[in-house]
Symmetry: C2
Subunit: 455 residues, 2 copies
């Protein structure tokens, strides 16, 4: 007989995974390597270590070891806010009157408000181990910057954050959280870097983009002694750290003998999605099991569903290595009325390859539909979700309603990556009925993609 | 041998208490009854039921039953965000280099951001059971209003919130959270009620007070068919619901055979503190055990430490029953530079009586010291605390540092009632170094107390 499933499944503290899972080791088709934009050859450890902490550069290049030990200091930090619960959405199921069983892995119960802390603490740890003074980074919606501020404060590292201007202005309180944790926050594009000044000159009044903020943060890191650059998504090292999400999810579901039929995650740079699905995708690439995995992206930034799988620049300033990924072109900037994160032009190379190999589906959703789903979820499940996470909620609800039609009791699992407490400007727009939807034209995307490098 | 204590002690879902504990039943000296301001006689169930839901009025008057069953619907809602963890503050202990063992009961992991939801869902449930259309209430810092909005949305009840004007202006995003949950939010004093118009006329430009917002909400409830008034603190019914905090805390500590030496809670209206300490105070009033219990209040609103234990009005408009409590006088309004909640002029009659009988100590702290403690805590424990909760943090740190001097390994337990995500205006003031401290003069308090009714 199946065990009765509680509202929240918590692992025990000693069941928190002690290793991250590197799905690349099990993939037959490996993600394409990062290329040196100057030579066109794969980036070496030496080259990567100019920008990244050495241990993180090693993780970036590691496509052979399936398991990577989590250092004890990081394990201890994880214990402050992990394990995160897998929640059975009994109230949502009831509200939808669906036979589906809906589960979500909730990563929002920490002050950064999202899963970003899982990688922030790892990156801060390796920076500290290397004896660095500090790190630089970019942040879009502010979740990553907050997470990194917390992590740096814990290890007493200097933290310099370039925050996409539109978010900086829409989320003044995010800045104060970061300051409370001791970080220096600069709106991007700024006048503090060469690349920032250049972009401000070329595009006066620009509201910024993640690609641009990355360029500024990289310049700041490489122009200061004892600093390195850290990134909150896209990179394979980040996805590796985020596998803690999927490993905990799988362990929790296994305890109750629940096998997901559908696994849903929102996709911006791809690290949350990749982290959630890695253990499941691992079973798929090893030919052991089959799941339906759905990546959900905003209609205003549809890299998987409308982009091309090519080598592209990771940043607007073109100072970073080239990555092969589903991309809209490094110059692509979603319209300012797009709320929240998921605004990066490209997708994690791991997620891109899994998608290209058919292990993942992708779909895009409009933001007013996303906020409608967010509000519905908030009212019945009691958690005010982040706009990013609400993309996954929207599709989870859609799939649950399909089950209602067919009468199937599918197990639907989605990633609830964070809370929306700092997204109330966007919620206000939705509450006031003044939020609109934006979708780029095919011509806009083609023009942006035409700028990709020829490799 | 003592068991190793995890970072977070979680009860199992089926260990969530199924009854609230009514400490009044075990108190030898009962709290003084509420009085009818017209007749001077104890309020009857009939009289109370004009303002309050009937079942809640019964709970208000119940001084005999030690245990009150929690209805199943409320138990189910509790399962969405409870049990809340008892956290061992290993990182704070290390940062302070103290031999003390510090524990905190964390009530902030829900969208209302605080313990207020424990009573909100109970009050909404009883309103729904009674067939009401909706409820009215006041909110100060906004935690209560948010919690009630969530609870009313869950039970599909109309929710009208009068929000103290200073908080309404400092916390626009709180309003949007409430709106997302479907509530109507009005800054108080408003021009929508007689009492609001009167206060606006008498004190033009007033930033409002809880006492005034209460008067408006009561008037709104009694002037609309099918509405009742609900209150987020002070009342004995609210304290009763909040005993879920203390019961869970005691059960969690008992599991690891931990006996608190000191129990610390912040005190505004007293329901969080009372809820936390009730099971422990129960052992004390029954003569079974002894604990050191410390109520911490802001220096700018020091009802226990500088008020008088007399009958007073519960609201500025003098429409509510009289309560015997430690009070600063119903006209007392803390200076506008006082951040966050804990701004009510009086204290729960249960807490007042326990304090008067010597079962509780009280101390007051300055707000710059409170924010310094908040920042220290945030940086090492990873949780950005509410200003209210940080009053308890401040004293917990002080007590832990005393242990460092004496070498004692005391068990210090405090209530971390909520998170500060909507208090970033106050944090910004602190970060910018422009926050100041305010303490009323003896003359101000005496003048305010002189307005108390003669009973």
């Amino acid at each position: 007989m199946a065990k009765e499933i509680p509202y929240k499944i918590y692992l025990k503290e000693d069941e928190i995974p002690k290793q991250w899972y590197n799905v690349r080791a099990d993939m037959k088709n490996k993600p394409a390597p990062l290329l040196n934009p100057g030579t066109g050859k794969p980036m070496t450890l030496e080259e990567l270590s100019v920008v990244f902490c050495e241990e993180l550069a090693k993780q970036e290049l590691n496509v052979t070891d399936p398991w990577v030990d989590i250092p004890e200091e990081i394990q201890n930090f994880y214990k402050m806010y992990r394990p995160s619960p897998v929640v059975r959405a009994y109230c949502l199921e009831k509200a939808l009157d669906t036979p589906a069983h809906i589960y979500y892995k909730f990563e929002g119960n920490n002050t950064s408000g999202s899963h970003k802390l899982n990688s922030a603490i790892a990156q801060a740890y390796y920076a500290k181990q290397q004896g660095l003074k500090g790190v630089t980074t970019e942040t879009g919606a502010g979740q990553w910057g907050t997470a990194l501020s917390m992590a740096c404060s814990y290890f007493d590292l200097d933290c310099q954050v370039y925050m996409v201007k539109v978010s900086y202005e829409q989320k003044p309180f995010r800045r104060e959280v970061m300051r409370t944790y001791g970080a220096k926050v600069t709106p991007s594009p700024s006048m503090e870097t060469n690349v920032g000044r250049k972009i401000n000159e070329e595009f006066p009044g620009t509201t910024g983009s993640l690609g641009c903020a990355i360029s500024e943060a990289v310049e700041a890191a490489t122009s200061q002694e004892g600093y390195r650059y850290v990134l909150g998504s896209v990179l394979s090292q980040v996805l590796l750290h985020q596998t803690i999400i999927g490993l905990e999810t799988k362990a929790a579901l296994d305890k109750y003998e629940v096998t997901p039929d559908i696994i849903i995650g929102c996709a911006g740079g791809g690290s949350n999605l990749g982290g959630l699905i890695s253990p499941f995708a691992g079973e798929m690439v090893r030919g052991e099991k089959n799941y339906r995995i759905i990546a959900v992206e905003p209609a205003s930034c549809p890299s998987l569903t409308r982009g091309s799988y090519v080598y592209d620049f990771c940043d607007t300033g073109k100072v970073c290595p080239l990555a092969k990924m589903y991309t809209l072109g490094s110059g692509y900037i979603p319209a300012p009325n797009h709320a929240g994160g998921l605004r990066y032009h490209g997708m994690s190379s791991i997620v891109s390859q899994l998608y290209d190999d058919g292990f993942i589906e992708a779909t895009s959703v409009k933001q007013t539909d996303v906020f409608a789903a967010a509000q519905q979820f908030a009212r019945v499940e009691g958690i005010l979700p982040a706009p990013e996470s609400s993309h996954a909620i929207k599709v989870a609800i859609d799939e649950a309603l399909k089950c209602k039609e067919t009468g199937e009791a599918k197990n639907i699992v989605f990633g609830l990556t964070g809370t929306g407490y700092f997204d109330m400007v966007a919620y206000q727009k939705y509450n006031d009925g003044v939020m609109d939807d934006y979708m780029p034209t095919d011509e806009e995307i083609a023009a942006s993609l035409a700028q990709c490098p020829k490799v």
